[in-house]
Symmetry: C2
Subunit: 320 residues, 2 copies
Amino acid sequence: MKDVAARAGVALKTVSRVVNGEPGVTPETTSRVLGAIEDLGFRRNESARLLRTGQTATLGFIADDCADPDLAGVWRGLEEVASEHGFLLYAGSTGGEPSREEQLALSLCARRVDGLIIVPAPGDHGYLVPEIEAGTAAVFVLRPPASLNADTVIADERGGARAAMAHLIAHGHRRIGYVGDPAGHRSRELTHGYAEAMAAAGLPVAESWTSLTPQRLLEPAVTAVTAVLCGGREHTVRVLRTLARAGAARRVAIVGFGDLDLADVVSPGVTVVSYDAAQAGRAAGELIVRRLAGEEDPPRRIELPVRLVPRGSAEFAPES
Amino acid sequence: MKDVAARAGVALKTVSRVVNGEPGVTPETTSRVLGAIEDLGFRRNESARLLRTGQTATLGFIADDCADPDLAGVWRGLEEVASEHGFLLYAGSTGGEPSREEQLALSLCARRVDGLIIVPAPGDHGYLVPEIEAGTAAVFVLRPPASLNADTVIADERGGARAAMAHLIAHGHRRIGYVGDPAGHRSRELTHGYAEAMAAAGLPVAESWTSLTPQRLLEPAVTAVTAVLCGGREHTVRVLRTLARAGAARRVAIVGFGDLDLADVVSPGVTVVSYDAAQAGRAAGELIVRRLAGEEDPPRRIELPVRLVPRGSAEFAPES
DNA sequence: TTGTACGCGTTATCAC
DNA sequence: GTGATAACGCGTACAA
């Protein structure tokens, strides 16, 4: 910028004015400065600018694995909003490790991102308190934070599980199982929804039904189970694979959580409950943009609907 | 930092030394500074630091859509390398629009990212020349850049197409079609591979075979076609869906480009050719890290293998 | 072992 | 309209 000023024969500030489109510069001077900028291939150093202004126009996205379909969807929605408002986006994966999440978040704060959008790993999020007090906005997506009250956007997974269960029960299923990870926020919500729906229908639940694996589904001890809710894409795929190999010997109604590439191509089609991850990302982005615009309301909690998509794998009555 | 120095009763530089772990500070002084840092909740401002040092320890990733499975895979591999070497990652989606790509790339350069990893949109990339000359490293992934000679990591899509075609031909297919976008780098490569394989086998190609859509596959004019190569996941899915609806009336051998969630669960399993996107990301990351370490060799071109995964949808002879 | 002075590239304040 | 000068928060050279 100094060089540009020298070449145009003006002061530093005048170049700054031109670059920022500030008023009060003769068209003649402007064009001279512009010429010098062109000649020297000058491009403003944003780091310096941001150091001076204190605003980085930057957001950070932190999630387990940005390549996961749900999280990638969130990312896409978030990016839409970010680019609309002129924010650039950092992204980082934690692999579900709390320590890596903290490290990432603090690195981003040290770079003075204006806001953080976090799909939280398990563990405490108290480490963010000083950052938030220092002015960094934070929104949690898909999972609530621990030890922290902040804006949150989550999917109504429990409601989704209830809808799936009601669907299975309406088709005559009474002995229904759950296949999924034992831990994690989603599993907790889904098993709650599962239990609520079973209780509401007055149906008993055997303990072994809620800790199923695809293989155990074939064991004599649980062959009484006529339907399952799968707590995630990989579980749905594993169950479908296992049952496909078992052939006609074992028929189980299936509702999966999360949509799949070929869900409508397999036979029967895979019935799923799912939500719009991009919508979650957009909601989170809009929340944070509003905070950065100065909104001071107490933390909000936005809940996204989880909808049932019937395709056939759950729309039949048990044989017994 | 000034405040910390004041509170600890030392000079600015001493705080700097402690923060950076430089030698030459009394343990006593160190602990006093550390205490002040703790009390004030001080955290070094990286922007300022990087303004001073000139290195941002930051990379930028630009792609059509970070939520696309292939590009998300590239992202994952890239991030692995980046975090290993202490780089933070910006990410931006272009939606395939050249103007948005340019805008993103220049914004990132203005923030002085050390390097750019680009899955290029169509169009000219000459706009990057001044940036590269100014010291920004650039690597192109999955598609080669136009009007620019730079490091590139691509998948051997043409070879993949040849392998797929050879596979179909070996199973007795003679009239083979291609379903895919008319434009784009991948389509170009795949249709070249297609043509090469057909020519190598001495097979004639009707013009209508290379501009197929799922619907046209059912038309009388092209029912002679007994097998197809699909140029992308969405095409494979659409073909499978269309044929599933058509039922037993039309049987077509299929090889898809890009793996699918339930590829091994549908019956028959979907035979695909695919590559390891994460490997592409890692290769790109390593390339750029090496450049940033000062490597001066001429631009490299790394080619990743594309492998055939037989699952059944292509492993049968034509009926005629 | 510690401190001083200066510079990184920009914007902001005021004077001219 | 334009310009000199001080900041922003930190690292570096060199003196103490």
